[in-house]
Symmetry: C2
Subunit: 335 residues, 2 copies
DNA sequence: TTGAAAGCGTTACCAT
DNA sequence: ATGGTAACGCTTTCAA
């Protein structure tokens, strides 16, 4: 049936210990023996049972990835880059979409514990969830990505959201805008972005009080709704900073429906630089987070913790980059 | 350290056999004992080691999912729906992006074998790859999704691509178009769609010979390039049927750059109805594949094969649906 | 350089 | 109704 280490050993006239050694090239093995064993392995197309080796205390080489939603382009891209770097290092990914639901988070964390994942990468996580402390207590390597944490108790790779918000606002200010509205959902990253935005405004001595309120979900629909709301206000903005590309697209739709043009009448800046930024019409000026780099770094960090044990935590904030496309323009001056 | 079944047994003053039985509620266990054991399990927050139980011949409850690219919205949506149904049934997913690369495919299949995945779902696969036969030989449950196979040797859930192509063409024909170009990459599904398209044309007695050639990749860029090419031809089309949404968006961009308008001058139909169809400007008329249903069905099928053993293969072709948005319009008549 | 045997955490069979 | 124990496939220590 399934070929095991015993089959190989028998066929090669050696003990299973020897086979194990050539498999892991540990211990000292004669060239000749090694050759023979290798040959039989090839011949039998033997695939060592990882369950068994994991049982003896070796790694499982599986990493759990908790993300809010695999169907969200940003997270899909991020997952892809983590996957790639993981495979590079010999790991495979068990991906779980949590929908920002703490119950699901806990359920999946338990699943990953039972399956002895070598580590867990959190790209999701409720604000108040105690998942992280729990994992740390149980000495399970964790890393957080795309979501900065106020507390440096785990390895973290995130975007410098403050700087991202700053850049977005700065770009618009440089174009002459003073009335810049914001669309955002109330999560940690967005609060950082808002801080950056506020800093840029105050640096430029601008005081625009728009009727800001957080939205419930980061979808096109909410972007549209909120933008519509802003446009109807007494003192409407000349620019909108949306905290992700989806929201920005919703805003553009709202503006168009109102009979106005982007960027001629109103400028829009998004965030993330997902594929859809290119698809939007006009193509979206946005703040690019490098999912590639984030994925690579977070995988490297968790791998380090897995192989070298608990070490000092590093906290990496990648600098986002303004990508200027066609949705922003200097403010219309009286002509 | 890690709490095992022994810890639970000791704490509860029973044997590990008993603990095992309450865990799997197999055998006969007294109510009282069961209660006590359960209590200890809770108290110790015991998570059974799945590696160990897999080793004894039980399922691993992991399913491998091979897809071309997790960062592609269509596949990300599909993966998400498979994930959901999988979790429903107690499985978790090991996702591997193959980039349509046969070497990676083989590498990941080996990985999944070593990790004793209960089954493998193929959403990817080279035309000539022998992966499927290989898996069948080794009695590993396989299912294929989003990619019809000419041979009914495995469970398959796919889109009725012929019908999809037919509908797309029919829709355009009904709008009065006769010169309908196609943009497609040369893969099985697209050949089916082309057949459907041809059928619709011949049913309507239309004979439009456009300078068709397959493209290399299904990206916006290729869509744009091919559309540009068509537009420059001597007898340009009045409508374009692109075999996925990305290509359609590329086509729209090309048309706009040429100074023409969609749908006034040229109509465009896409395929997939991914999120981006809604984002396009104008919103894309497209053929919807239900990733939700596909995911659910394929997961159900593989689960059936895993639990009930090899059975008759079923081959499900889901009917795609035309979603009419704003990128198509009846052909301009001389006024 | 090689092999025997203990052990990893479960499950399942057979006793009791 | 409960417990003892072999077996699962591998790694690793210790002897030879």
């Amino acid at each position: 049936m399934k070929t095991t280490i015993y089959d190989v050993a028998r066929e090669a006239n050696v003990s299973i210990a020897t086979v194990s050694k050539v498999l892991n090239n540990s211990g000292r093995i004669g060239e000749e023996t090694r050759g023979k064993v290798m040959e039989i392995i090839k011949k039998l197309n033997y695939q060592p049972n990882k369950m068994a080796s994991a049982l003896t205390g070796k790694q499982t080489y599986s990493i759990g990835l908790l993300i809010p939603d695999l169907a969200n382009p940003f997270f899909a891209e991020l997952a892809r880059s983590i996957e790639d770097q993981g495979h590079q290092l010999g790991y495979h990914l068990i991906i779980c979409s949590t929908d920002y639901n703490p119950q699901k988070e806990q359920k999946y964390v338990d699943l990953l514990k039972r399956n002895k994942a070598d580590g867990i990468i959190l790209a999701s996580g409720f604000e108040q969830s105690n998942i992280i402390e729990q994992l740390i207590n149980e000495q399970i390597p964790v890393a957080v990505v795309a979501r900065d944490l106020p507390i440096p108790i785990v390895n973290t790779v995130s975007n410098d959201d403050f700087y991202g918000g700053y850049q977005a606002a700065k770009h618009l200010i440089d174009l002459g805008h003073k009335k810049i509205a914001v669309i955002a959902r109330d999560v940690w990253t967005n609060r950082q972005r808002l801080d950056g935005y506020n800093k840029a405004l105050s640096d430029a001595n601008i005081h625009y009080e728009f009727p800001f309120e957080y939205i419930r979900e980061s979808t096109i629909e909410w972007g549209k709704e909120m933008a519509t709301h802003y446009l109807q206000s007494a003192d409407p903005p000349t620019a909108i900073f949306a905290c992700n590309d989806l929201l920005a697209i919703g805003a553009i739709q709202a503006i168009k429906e109102k009979g106005l043009k982007v960027p001629d009448d109103i400028s829009v800046v998004g965030f993330d630089n997902t594929m859809i930024a290119n698809i939007a019409d006009p193509p979206l000026t946005t703040i690019a987070q490098s999912t590639k780099n984030m994925g690579k770094h977070v995988m490297d960090l968790i791998n380090k913790e897995i192989t070298e044990g608990i070490t000092d935590k590093t906290r990496l904030a990648l600098l986002p980059k303004l990508i200027t496309r066609k949705s922003t323009k200097s403010i219309r001056t009286l002509s």
